[in-house]
């Protein structure tokens, strides 16, 4: 039943991310209007619980979503299977979650 669980997790993370993607694209369109700088980004995000929760949720959801998506590609196109496939995908999920949360902490902490 692992595939059914992965299917549900993939759709669940997609639904969680749908409003976050809209928000992220909106922020990007707004933020690039006067050029990007570290001061401009940090002035918006530093010390903000809202952005920490927004992007923390986004980073965790995308780590799971990307790992499951890459799992399907690695299985169907690279023919990985079994324990190797599971280990690679757990490593991808953990790596992306770690890097993502570190990035969120860097700009909101």
């Amino acid at each position: 039943m692992i595939n059914a669980r992965l299917y549900i997790m993939q759709r669940l993370t997609a639904l969680i991310m749908a409003p976050l993607v809209i928000g992220h694209i909106g922020v990007m369109i707004y933020a690039v209007q006067n050029g990007l700088s570290a001061a401009e980004i940090l002035g918006r995000t530093q010390g903000s619980y809202f952005w920490a929760i927004f992007y923390g949720t986004f980073a965790l959801a995308v780590a799971i979503h990307a790992a499951i998506g890459l799992r399907a590609i690695l299985h169907e196109w690279v023919r990985l299977d079994g324990m190797v496939l599971n280990l690679v995908c757990w490593a991808i999920a953990a790596g992306l979650a770690g890097l993502g949360l570190q990035a969120v902490y860097s700009v909101t902490g």
Partner: protein, 117 residues
């Protein structure tokens, strides 16, 4: 390369564009996260990187990334509508709409990134 019959179907294009946009976004994510992490350790390096984004070809690459994100987003909505809602004969229209919406959103970003000051 031989093109099979099913690959000429309009919705095969929807499938492959969703898969490839997802793959490219997943490959981009570690770089994106790493650059943002510079804010904590090396703010000058982050500013150096951000000034690099003023180059026209980097802006075009950003346009491509925002297009991939919006294409994956609208393509995913189409896919979930296909799976969870009653079958609709308009699936090809929805797929074309997803592509058009991806272009519209990413072009808004590009115009916003290009014309300022």
């Amino acid at each position: 390369m031989k093109v099979s019959g099913h690959q000429r179907h309009g919705l095969w294009f929807a499938y492959i564009s969703h898969r490839l946009s997802g793959l490219l976004l997943a490959l981009f994510l570690p770089l994106h996260f790493w650059v943002l992490s510079l804010a904590l350790n090396d703010r000058a390096a982050l500013d150096g990187f951000l000034s690099w984004t003023d180059l026209w070809y980097v802006k075009v690459a950003e346009y491509g990334l925002v297009f991939l994100l919006s294409l994956h987003f609208f393509g995913g909505l189409r896919l979930m509508a296909l799976e969870w809602l009653p079958w609709s004969a308009r699936q090809k229209t929805y797929a074309a709409t997803a592509l058009a919406a991806g272009f519209a959103v990413s072009t808004s970003f590009f115009l916003s990134a290009t014309f300022y000051g």
